[in-house]
Symmetry: C3
Subunit: 266 residues, 3 copies
């Protein structure tokens, strides 16, 4: 993997300023808006079917996040997602809590099957469940899976013909053929709410500038991870870390990213 | 314009502690609550029609913000707004994304025509659209207008008999006759989500202590801008800027405001 | 009251990592999620009736907060709360704004009477209203009550057979027989939005590790208060205080808590 090519996507995000439309949960929505701005994109949130459908037509990517699902929201995701598909706008799905409740599992499956999703990004438990395997999800946290996460990710990628990303100490990104491992990041990122959602927003911004979604997703996760590494140097706890994290997303340059990026093929 | 008179409104806010009722978007609602407290007001949020209608009766101002609209919310805005009108409680409208989608444009127009709005505050694109002119709004950002923003603001103010404010590098506040330009602020305020919404909340607090809404709105925007100028001295990026911004809203005194306020007539 | 016993609950929270399910307002929900993580619990938010009902079955506590109520949300609270009762999962109720509007007063009363609530925690005005006395609530703030708050809290506790907590400069926690006063905290906690909601989330986490809810609630309020005292040493205003507050919740140890806890019986 050419690190220079991955890192250069950051400059493309900063130059193009992709509009990232979100239909997302109300817990971390503010974090998603701000991190999208910090990476260089333009966030917008709209959930009413007609508003979402019209807004997505001017967007460069659509992020669907089921962190606080209800039936009306899933319906809006289907309407906006269908419009995005018609216009070839990439969709990122974050299946928050799939496996924890039937509603979330069903919602994720429905979105994956009715829409043409470009990237699904979740924790190991969520992805294992969606791949038809065994995983334990308690609340919104993964509590272990059965099997090798790389094989599970590849299986789901091949089955649905999309890019699968599993977040964790080492992030996995695969389209079933090419698999990238991202070793950037910091344990503090697991100590605060919203880092998973923010990663999906950044993946949306990067998907808005490159059609190679293995590459765009790995670059997005690496960029966020490098910002986390830098933030950890100047924080006293999760909240000061969060301030430093988004500041460092904003301050990250292509050059800084290229020097610190840690992505390998497997 | 008498700067001492404008600045003294801050002390009136701190003394009266106006209750500012919000029906607003779920992206920046926490920022609106905290900035209202920091400027010296008391925030409350209620969106259910009967709850909003009863709550607004004890409020000193009502802020309506269509950043994440749906039909039920617009209906609640009409119910609460009508009650506010009956009780002579000033209404501030922030028409977020008007011009970007039909739903937002329609919602803003409906609110402007069915309610007696005191102040409408938006970016140049949003106000141009509402004035019947040409503006480009992408997501929630203005991407240029046709014509002179001061003339557009005056036109809308005269047409609807209210105060129009356009936020930007120089803020414009006009009732069609008297036009004030506010040159306070800092570019970092455009790098984070929610500064526009926060400005509307502060405008609500100031509208709660003065019936002269050209003056109250200009004073509110100047106060927020001065806090931004001070915050920029101690920040490393948008998130640390945001922390410093609201801290400086809290720490701002009438004396500090009078020394830094930069408002002129045109 | 044995301070060592109270303080040791913090270690139990850190060890067990209780899952705290929230049905709460959209203003401070992110603060609730993050403070739950910082104290050592695992937060989850779900509001759709079937999702909430399934999620609560794996939780160790349920927090119901009516800060932004609507009919669908109250219905979900009843469904999830009924399930929690069936499974002996403790419920914390934060009756935000009870007394300010009929909808909020009715919602709080309905929840208190249809569900088996373990702890109700509010400000003096809210609790006075729920006890059938006289209190003034403006927006979401208490503006005075008639009578002695300790007697009012005991009256409500005895009437409904639950634990009542009144937040204030001195927090009151009582089951009608045993009454604890918590003198930890800092005035800055009243200068930002969400500290009351965060206190309820922490009370949920502590209720998830101890069936003695006078003790668990007093320990929770003391822990949050001690974090506030430490945070006040390093803040320039409400926002930097908020960052420091949650950082200090995260950094708090049992030993630190035991040294600073200030709880007495009355």
């Amino acid at each position: 993997m050419d690190m220079k090519s991955l890192s250069s996507l950051l400059t493309q995000v900063r130059t193009k300023r992709p509009l990232v439309h979100h239909i997302t949960n109300y817990v971390t929505v503010n974090d998603c808006a701000n991190v999208t701005l910090c990476i260089g994109g333009a966030p917008v949130m709209a959930h009413s079917p007609e508003d979402a459908s019209e807004m997505v037509a001017m967007a460069n990517a659509l992020v669907l996040n089921i962190g606080t699902p209800d039936h009306a929201q899933i319906e809006s995701m289907l309407v906006a997602g269908s419009r995005a598909n018609d216009l070839n706008i990439p969709i990122i799905l974050d299946p928050v809590g799939a496996g924890a409740t039937r509603m979330r599992t069903d919602a994720a499956c429905t979105l994956l099957h009715k829409l043409n999703i470009s990237v699904v990004k979740g924790n190991a438990g969520e992805i294992a469940i969606l791949a038809g395997g065994k995983g334990t999800v308690r609340g919104v946290d993964s509590h272990g899976i059965k099997g090798d996460p790389i094989e599970i990710a590849k299986k789901l990628a091949n089955k649905l013909d999309l890019v699968v990303a599993i977040s964790g100490q080492t992030d996995i990104v695969t389209n079933g053929e090419l698999t990238l491992l991202v070793d950037n990041g910091h344990p503090m990122m697991g100590k605060l709410s919203g880092t998973g959602c923010m990663a999906s927003s950044i993946a949306g911004a990067f998907a808005g500038v490159s059609k190679d979604h293995v590459k765009s997703t790995a670059a997005a996760l690496a960029a966020f991870g490098v910002a986390g590494e830098k933030a950890a140097l100047h924080s006293n706890g999760p909240s000061s870390f969060k301030v430093a994290l988004t500041d460092n997303v904003y301050r990250l340059t292509e050059d800084m990213l290229r020097k610190s990026i840690n992505v390998r093929t497997v």
